[in-house]
């Protein structure tokens, strides 16, 4: 089985480019609580990195550190090789954060106009409005917008300055399917123009659809890192469902099998690769039936990873 270290220390990346944002050995404490624990995270130019993790895992804290909105308790934070708070970095960075309250009496176009004025070469307001899908809402006051529309305004404020590096903290929360796909397309367009994106998400499908690299965080610790495909391979690569008379212990001993559970009279086998397991199944039980092979979704991979992490913690 491929070890966690093998993935963490993978030498070459699919996109070899300069590092634009980096957390090195970063820990962050809030009083007695430790939000991040010795985290290393790197974002290279032109890539989309998805930080994936459950609530309270430390995703937002990582983003705030990279934006210079909080200072690390230990370790260093670097953006474009400098402190994230330098004026130059602020000009080259855009951020979408989870904001509890935006001034509700200002119009969409007024908010965009204000934020655009902060940057050196902002996008034309019309372009920002179009990219965020806000056409026709320019003169609406923020307070009367729906949740999804508000989210799109925050996206518009992040991109209006045409920044090189974008931090998107749960960008598609509260969006319907159509709006989410539109935002994905927009993020892909930004990357095609050479922008670098770090996003955090609860939507595992989102990480799968957008990211070149996924960083899984749980309890403030990075527990896995790799391409979406690698993350899937790292855990349950394939799932085989079948009905067999073989005892569960025998199935568990097949090569590459990681987990077997019984489900309504059938076995659900998680394995790195399906074929060797199938060969053993046919050899041991010629009457094996109802075989279904599926690839594990990122969701299963994610759950398995966080479960691994927790069981390790219990042992240690």
């Amino acid at each position: 089985m491929e070890t966690l270290d093998a993935i963490l220390n993978r030498p070459s990346r699919s996109i070899a480019s300069a590092s634009v944002a980096r957390l090195s050995g970063v820990s962050k404490n809030f009083g007695a609580a430790r939000a991040l624990n010795n985290v290393d995270l790197e974002v290279c130019g032109g890539e989309v990195v998805a930080v994936l993790g459950p609530n309270g895992a430390g995703k937002t804290t990582a983003v705030k550190l990279l934006l210079g909105l909080a200072s690390p308790s230990a370790g260093t934070v670097g953006v474009f090789g400098a402190d994230p708070r330098t004026p130059l970095n602020r000009l080259r960075t855009g951020a979408m954060l989870q904001v509890g309250r935006v001034p509700e009496t200002l119009q969409v176009q007024e908010l965009i106009n204000l934020f655009s004025s902060y940057y050196m070469k902002p996008l034309p307001i019309r372009e920002t409005v179009g990219a965020a899908g806000l056409q026709g809402l320019e003169k609406r006051r923020f307070g009367v917008l729906s949740g999804g529309q508000k989210q799109r305004v925050l996206f518009a404020l992040a991109i209006c300055g045409d920044p090189d590096l974008l931090f998107l903290d749960e960008p598609t929360v509260g969006l319907d399917v159509e709006a989410r796909r539109m935002l994905w397309d927009e993020i892909r367009r930004l990357v095609a123009r050479g922008k670098t994106v770090l996003l955090t998400t609860h939507y595992l499908q989102e990480a799968d659809a957008l990211a070149d690299r996924v960083v899984v965080i749980n309890h403030g610790t990075v527990i896995a890192e790799g391409t979406p495909a690698e993350i899937k391979a790292r855990t349950a690569g394939r799932q085989i469902r079948c009905v067999t008379r073989l005892p569960i212990a025998t199935v568990c001993s097949f090569p590459g099998v990681m987990e077997v559970r019984s489900d309504r009279g059938a076995f659900v086998i998680s394995a790195t690769v399906a074929e060797p397991v199938l060969r053993e199944l046919f050899r041991g039980d010629p009457e094996v039936s109802e075989i279904e092979v599926t690839s594990a979704g990122l969701e299963e991979a994610f759950l398995a990873l966080t479960r691994d992490n927790e069981s390790k913690e219990v042992q240690s």
Partner: protein
């Protein structure tokens, strides 16, 4: 791509003076529009002093005197002080607490906005609302209260109160950095109303209970009140220097407290 842009010439990223000015102007303009369109702010901070003045200054105490001037003149200055205090404390105290506590200020800090623009815009907007309030009271007093002021006197009254508003912006900022987004309005009301009363802004200080008369000189609104009253002929001849001194001292203490809150925020995350 990013390797190339990482070495962009620094000059290309330096703002011109006119660009910086544009940011300050827009920040101020939108801050003003934001509050003007918020009736809970704009209507209440203007309506309360004006309503009190019409009631107590123009209708109920017609022809009476206080401290050697007509009640209409006295209350024009003291409700003016009350008004600018409210405009500043609510805009800063409630505004900053909400924007800081609920993430808006953080989002702005992540942008290249000069941080000072945020605070200066709020201060200028408080002064603008203060100007509106004082001008309304002045118009009412002169038109319906028989108040006679030379133009220079009236201008000095307005200037005193508009500049004095800055002191309460500092106080509001301190509140905004320590009160929560939901509790800020209560904190402001609980300081604003008792302070106004004890400083003699509703009824003249020498008509207050004697222990409050001794407390009043320690309260900042008392000093701004005395300065404003000086412009309508109360306590003429006294030095205004000590009052400005007290106000400046208080403003610096508030800014110091706000600074502590600002530094605390650096190491902490909200929302």
């Amino acid at each position: 791509m990013s390797a190339a842009s990482a070495t962009l010439p620094r000059a290309a990223m330096e703002r011109s003076f006119s660009h910086t000015l544009t940011i300050y102007v827009k920040e101020t303009k939108y801050e003003f529009l934001k509050l003007l369109r918020l009736p809970t702010y704009s209507v209440s901070i203007i309506l309360f002093p004006v309503m009190f003045y019409v009631l107590f200054g123009l209708l109920l105490n017609r022809g009476k005197e206080a401290d050697g001037v007509s009640v209409a003149a006295y209350l024009m200055a003291s409700y003016g002080t009350f008004g600018v205090m409210g405009a500043s404390l609510f805009a800063f105290g409630v505004g900053v607490a909400g924007e800081r506590g609920l993430g808006w200020l953080q989002l702005k800090r992540a942008t290249p906005m000069p941080p000072f623009a945020y605070f200066l815009a709020k201060t200028l907007v408080c002064m603008a609302f203060s100007f509106i309030i004082v001008l309304l009271l002045l118009t009412l007093g002169i038109s319906f209260g028989g108040v006679h002021l030379a133009f220079a006197q009236a201008a000095r009254l307005v200037a005193t109160l508009v500049v004095g508003a800055g002191v309460f912006c500092a106080m509001g900022l301190a509140i905004g950095y320590f009160a929560g987004p939901t509790s800020a309005a209560a904190v402001v009301n609980l300081t604003y109303l008792p302070l106004s009363f004890a400083s003699g802004l509703w009824i003249p200080v020498d008509m207050l209970p004697s222990f409050l008369q001794r407390v009043a000189p320690f309260l900042p609104p008392y000093h701004l009140g005395r300065l404003a009253l000086g412009n309508v002929g109360v306590g003429r001849g006294g030095s205004s220097f000590e009052h400005w001194e007290a106000l400046m001292g208080f403003a610096f203490i508030c800014l110091g407290i706000a600074r502590l809150g600002f530094q605390r925020d650096e190491g902490k995350s909200y929302g």
